[in-house]
Symmetry: D2
Subunit: 375 residues, 4 copies
Amino acid sequence: MRNTINVGIVGTQFMGRAHSNAWLDVGHYFDLPAQPVMRVACDNVAENLPPFQKRFGWQDAETSWERLVARDDVDLVDICTSNATHMPIAVAAAKAGKHILCEKPIALNADEARRMLEAAREAGVRHMVAFNYRRVPAIALAKKMIAEGKIGRVFHFNAVYYQDWLVDPNFPIVWRHDAKVAGSGAHGDMNAHTVDLARYLVGDEIEAVCAAEEIFVKERPTTGGGRGAVTADDALYSLARFRNGTLGSFMATRFATGRKNYLRIELFGSEGSLIFNLERLNELEYYTRSDDRAAQGFRTIVVTESVHPYINLWWPPGHIIGWEHTFIHEIGDLLLAIAKQEDAAPDFYDGWRCQLVLDAMTRSARERRWVEVAD
Amino acid sequence: MRNTINVGIVGTQFMGRAHSNAWLDVGHYFDLPAQPVMRVACDNVAENLPPFQKRFGWQDAETSWERLVARDDVDLVDICTSNATHMPIAVAAAKAGKHILCEKPIALNADEARRMLEAAREAGVRHMVAFNYRRVPAIALAKKMIAEGKIGRVFHFNAVYYQDWLVDPNFPIVWRHDAKVAGSGAHGDMNAHTVDLARYLVGDEIEAVCAAEEIFVKERPTTGGGRGAVTADDALYSLARFRNGTLGSFMATRFATGRKNYLRIELFGSEGSLIFNLERLNELEYYTRSDDRAAQGFRTIVVTESVHPYINLWWPPGHIIGWEHTFIHEIGDLLLAIAKQEDAAPDFYDGWRCQLVLDAMTRSARERRWVEVAD
Amino acid sequence: MRNTINVGIVGTQFMGRAHSNAWLDVGHYFDLPAQPVMRVACDNVAENLPPFQKRFGWQDAETSWERLVARDDVDLVDICTSNATHMPIAVAAAKAGKHILCEKPIALNADEARRMLEAAREAGVRHMVAFNYRRVPAIALAKKMIAEGKIGRVFHFNAVYYQDWLVDPNFPIVWRHDAKVAGSGAHGDMNAHTVDLARYLVGDEIEAVCAAEEIFVKERPTTGGGRGAVTADDALYSLARFRNGTLGSFMATRFATGRKNYLRIELFGSEGSLIFNLERLNELEYYTRSDDRAAQGFRTIVVTESVHPYINLWWPPGHIIGWEHTFIHEIGDLLLAIAKQEDAAPDFYDGWRCQLVLDAMTRSARERRWVEVAD
Amino acid sequence: MRNTINVGIVGTQFMGRAHSNAWLDVGHYFDLPAQPVMRVACDNVAENLPPFQKRFGWQDAETSWERLVARDDVDLVDICTSNATHMPIAVAAAKAGKHILCEKPIALNADEARRMLEAAREAGVRHMVAFNYRRVPAIALAKKMIAEGKIGRVFHFNAVYYQDWLVDPNFPIVWRHDAKVAGSGAHGDMNAHTVDLARYLVGDEIEAVCAAEEIFVKERPTTGGGRGAVTADDALYSLARFRNGTLGSFMATRFATGRKNYLRIELFGSEGSLIFNLERLNELEYYTRSDDRAAQGFRTIVVTESVHPYINLWWPPGHIIGWEHTFIHEIGDLLLAIAKQEDAAPDFYDGWRCQLVLDAMTRSARERRWVEVAD
């Protein structure tokens, strides 16, 4: 068996950098049967490549993802591009027999996602969607506690995802403002994470949604000096009913002045509750009705103990880890799944199911009505 | 001019006690032209009256609100009964020329509320709805800061109101579980407060809503040993659009395990943000974009300074006040309004406007669609 | 048996107001065999009396505490004056056979405190020192949990008491700045509370202390337009060893910019820990090593449940009480002790023991050395 | 000029791992004129070396630090051993002309530290003590704000450093419990950090200290099955006076049940205040008296903005970094100092000055008296 796995990455921007950091570090912390080799990086803007290669050590470069996907010396394709290109790259990579890691949201819509899922399944490759927040130790701990029955039946799943970088009306138009390229704005980028966490933690599917979206600043300066229309949502709020009766809410906005990357979820259950906030990602709040009646309260678990998920890879108690570690965990688990010839999770099925919900929310907002999530 | 004002209270339960405490204390803290006299208390269960009178010093008792309203020695009627009786008592009190303080929600529905408003206006009496949270010093401070432009245009108003006393399936049926008596469950009791705060702080009306409600425990034990069907909602979540473009959310539930009386509101604006949590009612969180860029953050204002609303009535900085003080502020302001022959606020108009929104939410939940708020 | 108890209060300033509020309210919440009557108020500045009487309903007035103490229609003397007068008033009150409630610190020094204790014991009257923070529900709960062994052996008792009202160098000289009148500055006023809480919660005596004091602003404006020397400490920090081996610290300062009345104590024990902060007095933080290893953390108990001390007097869960309620609890318990002919607590013995520690700290600061607490 | 710098590390335990991680990553984030090469690792236990080399990629190995220091292919020696060996290694490394990074505390006592400082100065090499917390972005931001006068004159510097891993009496004896090997226990390990931060942030020296130490568990199991005496302190508390009049406190303990790596510092100044807590190292709390009077409060700055120190190396706002990043910053700055031929900071002078304070605290605790810090 080969003891290396060659990686080709497509995209050199924010996610390209975050994934590169993880590819660099993963071998030093995970015990991997096959070490990743940072073989080739791809960007359609040629001048982006040399500094990216230099910083992270990608050995080779391509300016066309088609060529990258076709290379014999690539075993795994890591898709870090804008949403509109996920599908074609993933389908081609699958057909070429490459394992795939794909950024979220998986695609522009559920149809694309389903094509990706089918292509990957047909090819028999491993596939994963980069819902990295599943690999925050506190979230992994929450999952474990829920599985153990610690909070019982879940009555409510509430999620907010707040940023504020669009409050400034002079922030220029970027691809994320263009509904055609991005599929959606705050919604796809942010609710993708919280909808995935909802499915993961509640352990059931969302049945129906009712959403409202808003564009607060309708026009923004372009980098070219002109002005352009914003077509992607600044905010999308949604109510949700789960099959199991859980009543949920999802609120994503880039106009939450003062909040930078504030993803907060709450699960209220018949036996207890759990709360998580990404800006304090080393902490998990937990309430249990089984404590002494006079001593019940939300406790803040500092999730840095060796008994906590992933922490044995890192430092002693109280020495916190950062946001980027979630990618190391994700890529480590993907490499282990490949080595063990097991399915990775979350995979394209999860990406597709999440996209069904996101699509339903978009349709609901446009049509101003409740929408059943398609099956 | 008379220097006393005789009060008759109807209802001796939780709100009756909270109001009685305020009637007792208000004269010691407010400089009032006319001191209130705790003249007569009313409850249709006769045995409730003696202990209530003894505890709070109500001079006389009645078992019929009709008789109380008819008494010449009553100048002001304080309505602390269950929601279904607010309208008849208030209309009768108004016709008898009494000033009125009425607990919230103002009535079972907006039609009732409108009849109350019309009766009070025709009679020329002062009328107030007991939305006491407007008189939390931190909320009054927030209102002042918003009026001064501190947070600019409001993008989002988000409110949650969480309690957990119904999580226990053995908690017995009370009148609040009966939709006929209470009008609604968590919704009317809890969203009444947050909808009023929304109108007060955003300074505009809600245009349309989309809500979902749930009854998690469909049947509960009765105090008589049997079992009864729960018909009032355990939780109601709603999206809301304001006329001015604000996107809002309201989530009320009695199944938020671990939360006791957790009313939390957030206003995100173009210049700054404000956050308030009733369980820490002496604090207000504030973020401003006008701080130095490197030193921006949510600050916790401990609202106990002499420059803060109502605090000159109380103690030095850092000596916190309690929940019940909101009633003292409310009743003090009502008595001052009566003395100055000015309108009180929030009055029955506010109660009616709030009820229009609550009704729209209820209809929306039942009909599973967006509902415009009637005018 | 008489069913009233006549109260005479000496002092009409901050503490006079806080106690008056409690005398007013106590009968409405506690079930008392004998109701207090607010008989007479005393201030040596005659013009302070009418507004004070009017606000709180004190029936009569005196300008000499000697006369108040001598009145036949006074059963209990409530001493709310500056520290230098506590001893003479208390001794005279005891000799006149009056029960005594005395503000803290009990006296200017331990010798005075001992004279007060001896006088009260000889006279057989009830005596209490107004260490009101023992009656914060969260502190009473902490005491109960410690008694039940919840935190085991106490390794550390750490207390800070932070205020900031002297940071402004233009804040004028008041009696509290004069070491002769006040005995000490921040120290006696603030460490008195924390030393009492230490004795109460640790359940053992402090053996030796080492302190440092500081006057940061040596001269301040007088109200008369001149300038005066500050002779009382702005801050006093002290280390402490308890007889049982607990290592402690006490830090009081009026130069903690941004802290208003921030009394925070921590107890770290072999089985768990407790933390309390007066600015959030309805909360108690608790950590226990007996929780599941993966789910340990400091939990925030919202101390507003009916199972918590004193809360059955007040409101439902999550409806917080204020600082002033501690005085209602204190006075209620004192009145019950008098009715039951039992000792009150904390009494003059506790006041004296606390003063021994405070005196040792003062001496330690002056002599720059460890000082054993006298016995 | 050579564009690499060869590193030899001594010590493969906790600090060896943390430094190795930083050596691996630093070149990917800092723009370095000379890239570090992980040339050789040293441990006197031979079997520790292969897994350490494999995990982090150290090219070569030595079992004697004397041989490592003598190698021509080593430019910089990174000392991560127990405290007793810092001095001989550092002196030898300096004599061999190597640059030095040395873990804290710098040595067993100030005499050793001074020898190290003199050796490094004579040799003309760069030297740094690994007080990595200076490189937490929030601390670097605090330093900048203090330098800009944001908090004015500092009245108080209070530090606590709390851990709890010794609360379990069955935790076995390690070298840190042996005063001969470790110099001290909690004190040297933990107060070393807070004393350095005090010097850094207050910007002045400590003049005199008074300390108390305690060993709560006097005997512990040895790994060999027997029992051994604990001779190093479990906790050391100290008061401190700074030359500029600041009154300070330092409290280090390993018996703070529930606290894992809780280093919290407070600076209270004439214009504002700053608070930092290592368990939430991406946050800095700031209070300023220059805010509007009605809107003053402690604000939580989430130190993840591009305008904050070091953050331009990392991720967008709200994406937090971890504890280990402090080492990357430290080593990056050291390599830049070497490249620019400038002094590194904190250097052995700082290590020596810190050690003078630590020694004075130890002496003070042993002799139970105030001790002046030697010069």
